[in-house]
């Protein structure tokens, strides 16, 4: 029966391990404000997870080097504890719990993607931990009555709304025929709802409505249907992988469609990776470097983009920009609350009304940012084959005119 002794020893070993591994960090240690974040460093959202993390880190460094956060006459520096949520909601919820109850974090930054934000929001809400998130755009996040959730971005259903309306306008106000394919995840499905609404209002018809799997590597079936039915607009949304897959296969199959509307073109670095193949793709974006918003920390979009590229070696996608903006919002709220009391900080966040390089930020009751419109850009290439994203809508910021319809593959 000695085996039982081994088990007893084992159980006590666990007990010791658990009790010694409690690392207790308070939210404000010395002159540090410690924020917690679960980020997708591995898994299907890893590339966007890294964009998010880079955005956070750049803003932390910038704010710290420019004097930090002043609360109660004292200067504090930002610091972030990261965990890897592996792009898995189950893991994300667990990590939020861990950040709050074990690491003692009292303020959180959001993860990447709507699904993961949906998993974390109930936890932060339960503990009354204010969370400023920059990458959860699903509309249903803002209808659950969450009080401690603040999103610096516009909700997902607005992403491609403009594209459909533009197509209808160019069609002389008559409804268009839409083919759409969306990944089965919270964000893309919300973009889909937005399209459904826009289609209803403009009298457009949806002729293909496909769902794509999460590990999106093939959408040839949808494209074959598109070839056969010749819709006026093709809408695809499925994070970075969706954008890459769509462009790759559209070029391979030489699919001709007058308008191609997508999301995540800049995060996927389409213009760099696929060059001329990605030309004419119309992309919804929360931000573009040529927008004329300004703030004291990053100056404007162009400066932000240049600084970001110097640090990380690539052009910042909007995921990074909005993540940086989340830190600016936190700094502003801390200083206005002049306290680290979670309730006071929450109230200060709710009263936010500011301009950052990324756009104006003002939260509605549900926590979404209502003061910042989406922009549409189009991938445009010059004769040398160098491609760039140029803003085409709204007209206020447009730096180029929309090319419509997309030339046929045989004429390119």
């Amino acid at each position: 029966m000695k085996i039982k002794n081994i088990i007893i020893t084992f159980v006590s070993a666990i007990a010791i391990l658990f009790s010694t591994s409690v690392v207790s960090l308070a939210k404000v240690v010395g002159d540090k404000i410690i924020l917690g974040a679960a980020i997708s460093l591995t898994g299907k959202y890893s590339s966007n997870g890294v964009h998010t993390q880079n955005g956070y880190n750049m803003a932390v460094d910038r704010i710290n080097s420019m004097g930090g956060v002043k609360v109660g006459g004292k200067t504090y520096m930002f610091d972030i504890i990261y965990y890897d949520d592996e792009s898995n909601p189950k893991r994300a919820a667990q990590l939020a719990e861990r950040l709050i109850s074990q690491d003692g974090v009292e303020f959180m930054l959001g993860p990447y993607s709507s699904g993961l934000t949906k998993a974390i929001a109930p936890v932060t809400e339960k503990y009354g931990v204010p969370m400023v998130e920059a990458n959860g755009a699903s509309r249903s996040l803002f209808t659950k009555g969450y009080k401690y959730l603040f999103a610096v971005l516009a909700p997902a259903n607005l992403y491609l709304d403009v594209a459909i309306r533009t197509a209808v306008e160019l069609n002389g106000g008559k409804g268009v025929r839409i083919a759409q394919a969306f990944e089965q995840d919270a964000f893309s499905q919300d973009v889909r709802l937005g399209i459904l609404d826009a289609a209803k209002e403009t009298g457009s018809k949806i002729i293909i409505d496909d769902k794509l799997p999460k590990e999106l590597n093939d959408m040839a079936a949808t494209l074959a249907k598109v070839k056969a039915t010749k819709p006026d607009v093709l809408v695809v949304s499925g994070h970075t992988k969706g954008a890459l897959t769509a462009i790759r296969q559209i070029a391979e199959m030489k699919v001709d469609v007058p308008m191609l509307a997508m999301t995540h073109c800049d995060a996927a670095k389409l213009s760099k990776q696929h060059g001329a193949n990605s030309q004419y793709a119309l992309c919804a974006s929360q931000w573009h470097k040529t927008l004329t918003y300004k703030d004291d920390f990053f100056k404007d979009g162009m400066t932000y983009a240049a600084d970001f590229e110097a640090l990380f070696g690539y052009d910042p996608p909007y995921q990074s920009a909005e993540s940086s903006a989340a830190l600016l919002v936190f700094k502003d709220a801390f200083e206005r609350a002049n306290s680290f009391d979670q309730k006071k900080v929450r109230d200060a966040l709710a009263a936010t009304n500011m301009q950052t390089f990324y756009g104006n930020i003002k939260f509605a009751e549900g926590g979404q940012n209502v003061d910042k419109p989406m922009v549409l850009f189009q991938v445009m290439c010059d004769d040398a084959g160098k491609c760039e994203n140029k803003v085409v809508a709204p007209l206020k910021w447009a730096s180029a005119e929309l090319i419509h319809p997309i030339p046929k593959w045989s004429d390119r």
Binding site: M1, L17, A93, K126, S140, N157, A186
Partner: protein, 349 residues
Amino acid sequence: MNKNIILYAAILIFGIAAPFVFPAFKVQLSILCILIILAITWNVQGGEMGYNTFGNILFYGLGMYLCASVQVGMFFPLAEWTEGGGEKTFVHTPAQFFQGFAVGLAVAAIVPAIVAGLIDYSILGLRGHYFAICTLGLGVAAGEISGGIEIIGAGQGFTTPPFPKVGSLEARGEFFYFCSFAVLIFTFLAVKAIYSTRFKLVLNAIRDNEDKAEAMGIQTMKYKIIGWMISAFFCGLAGGIMGGLVGYIDSTDVAFDGREMGVFMVLMAILGGKGTLWGPVIGATVFHIFKEGFWTFFLGWQYVALGVLIVVIVIYFPEGIMGWLREKYPERFGEVVDEADRKAQVELK
């Protein structure tokens, strides 16, 4: 026997005291309980019966969706709850929450067991690799199909009812911990009781030689089906609790999570030693601690470490921790060893 009672009492006391002694680790402890349940139930097929199944995740996910759907559907229109752009907010009162959860758990246990009974007749005719691949397909298919069913949220996912405001902030964690701990004890005792009957011997006979077992007059199909129904029952319960604990159900990442949970349950049972009662318990515990440790201290390398762990298990502990102990200290497992014979064997080598 006395030592046994002391051991069980010690574990029980540890289990009850744990959330108060380590309040910050309640979620991890709850998940540990769930993992042990999954490992124990996998072992019924994989260990005792010799049928390597990847399909238990089907019952786990089914239980998760059923529990949450019943909990919501009993009081509110389910379709409006899960609707993507839904503007309405529904709030469960404490009584509704707990009633719904209790009924949900019952459904989450019974329905998967029935489903197991229905599909098993066709699947369990397959053996070996064919069976493994077929069950793998079950989990994957369930994930894709559930991702297209609007009433349970489809690709949007399903937010389970938020825990009502009762007691302190810790109430939610404690509630789910004790739920999972109670189910763990229930599972362990049930499986232990089953293992002490002829049933286990039949399962072992199927593992060792199914044709011979049939020739002996055992209706192997009947036993195989009952065995899997038992597993499905407890997997469903585990899934139901896990859904409430996580708070958000996603078709392929949380519910029918074959890539993680589905593989982990196999790994844990093998690590601890399949075909033993305690093996899966030990395996799951070691695995969970290892995993959590690596996730904390070696961020970014956790999957590399997990890969190394799997290689080490396969090469050095093919029989698992319990199997290794048994080989090393057979006397302690109540096996009589003839020293002379043992030496003779060593010399032969």
